[in-house]
């Protein structure tokens, strides 16, 4: 299939993910819409095109590992896992409920497909380095994909991980930065200016690619390129919009960790289902 055709299919899939993100956060009346929606296209491409995973055998040894280092955005991962067949879609609405497998932040072992417990920012990427190192030691071919927030890059641990990955030459590790420009209290440029994320990762010895995190064709091409890079870990900096796909959530600090009310939910669903891609 042509890349353009595949991109159209994945765009439709991303729409489904976006619907379930808003739907489960609305059902829970708790959770993070903004950072889930900004990562929806990236996560869709990974789960439906790139990751070597098998819902029938979620623990198979040679699977690719996906680490959501920005764990608060787990609605996007839960939606992807459910739509990929790892557990029933109906379970998505149990998000954050007592005894649910869909915890407020991902818990390793609680739900098929969750590799690493995250939620404390800066934790996931370190463990991703360990997973990639393990693949290297075993001479295994699987890859580790990690998704980080741009605010998360403030944590020193991220840069400790970045140096370790370079030292070990982990070209089986691909870190995607969801560069939506917002964090909890405001714009990254006001909270802790990042200057150039690509320059920083390059200075740490990583290969860096940049893409539009909402342009599915660009995502497919860039991830394809990332797979070909050898000798160093790869950072993909994805330009994104926090809350992407729901007009009133887009680029709004307010929607970092807020649940929509009934009216907002209806509007959000209408936009996701009917609006332009």
């Amino acid at each position: 299939m042509k890349l353009e055709e595949r991109a159209r299919e994945l765009e439709a899939k991303a729409r489904e993910l976006r619907f379930h993100i808003v739907d489960m956060v609305h059902a829970a009346q708790s959770g993070h819409c903004g950072g889930s929606l900004s990562a929806a296209d990236i996560v869709t491409a990974l789960y439906f095109e790139f990751l070597n995973i098998d819902p029938a055998n979620p623990d198979k040894g040679d699977r690719d590992r996906f680490v959501l280092s920005k764990g608060h955005a787990c609605p996007v991962q839960y939606a992807a896992l459910a739509l990929r067949g790892f557990f029933p879609v109906a379970e998505l609405r149990s998000l954050r409920a007592m005894h649910s497998r869909l915890q407020g932040h991902p818990v390793q072992g609680k739900l098929p497909g969750i590799e690493v417990t995250t939620g404390s920012l800066g934790v996931g990427i370190c463990e991703a380095v360990g997973l990639a190192l393990e693949a290297r030691l075993r001479k295994a071919s699987w890859r580790v994909w990690a998704v980080l927030g741009d605010g998360e890059l403030g944590e020193g641990a991220v840069w400790e991980a970045a140096q370790a990955a370079t030292k070990f030459g982990l070209d089986n590790l691909i870190a995607v930065v969801d560069n939506n420009g917002l964090q909890n209290d405001g714009y990254c440029r006001d909270i802790l200016p990042l200057r150039s994320i690509p320059d920083k990762f390059r200075a740490f010895g990583w290969a860096v690619l940049e893409m539009d995190g909402h342009d599915m064709e660009d995502i497919l091409r860039t991830f394809g390129k990332a797979l070909l890079i050898t000798g160093s870990p790869v950072c993909v900096v994805a330009k994104t919009v926090k809350g992407k796909g729901v007009s009133f959530m887009e680029d709004k600090r307010d929607w970092h960790g807020k649940a929509p009310n009934a009216e907002q939910y209806a509007q959000a669903v209408a936009e996701i289902k009917g609006g332009p891609a």
């Binding site: 829970a28 708790s30 959770g31 764990g71 954050r96 409920a97 007592m98 005894h99 649910s100 915890q103 407020g104 932040h105 818990v107 417990t117 995250t118 939620g119 404390s120 920012l121 800066g122 605010g151 998360e152 403030g154 944590e155 020193g156 964090q183 909890n184 209290d185 405001g186 006001d190 909270i191 802790l192 600090r253 960790g257």
Partner: protein, 320 residues
Amino acid sequence: MIDEMVAPRLAFGKALVEFAPLFPEMVVLDPDVCTSTQTSLFRAAYPHRFYEMGIAEANAIGVAAGLASCGYIPWVSAFAVFLATRALDQIRVSVAHTGLPVKLNGSYGGLPSGRGGATHSSIEDLAVMRALPGMTILTPADSVETRAMTELATRLPGPVYLRTVRCEVPTIFDAAYRPVLGKATVLRKGSSGDVAILSEGMMSARAVAAADLLAAEGLKVRVLHFGTVKPLDGEAVAAAARECGRIVTVENHSVIGGLGAAVCELLAEEAPCRVVRLGFPDVFMESGDDGLIFSRYGLDACGIAAAARRLAAGRGPTGA
């Protein structure tokens, strides 16, 4: 106003603004959670005294220590769990060991984290902070005490850990109430020979509600609120043991290392008596409704009353 529901985190944010003119050296450092911990109120009122540090808790503590050594009184307000764990080394070396007046606000103390689950609930912070020499630990019961303790903490010469909770809690103190550092507050006198309930923070309102349930049954329990967990009011603890004979401790924290542990450590040496510790057993928290989870662990008025009732009847916590 008594019984009014107010979130202590909000009372803390307001208190910082209120007392800012009193303490010109006071500054606030925020690791990207001010809209959650409510120091955003201070950011709006005193932008030039507010430092946004990004998601980098450990660095925020080190910077605060540097500011404190030059005469500032820095407050670092963050999620309790990330202060007590991510930034612990910096708190231990640069704050506790130096004795500098860095003021820590552990916001989102205990279970309530807005359903965040294991990574966000903070049920070990009191244990961690208690183990640090020289750390004063304050666990206000409501918004009135939170306000008073914010001033008290700012005034103290050394490091302080002031724990606030995320959820709304009933106001139990009238506006004139002034907590005394290191002294337990008697909420119900009770009568000798009956049980004493020793509680901290938001659990104290529930302890009072439990005492009132029990009073209707003729059981007059003493209720002591520990707004200061460290230094512990040992006299009040020992007196409760001697006079009431049996003690229930209640905390929004693990039973390991918090108020219950502190009480048991003291009583083992000074006035051994039967103690039942209510708190979270040796487990991590999960997502879910705060009320349901508190109840699951007996941390509501009924659960506290039941534990006290069993103890009064001379039976253990399981009825055995």
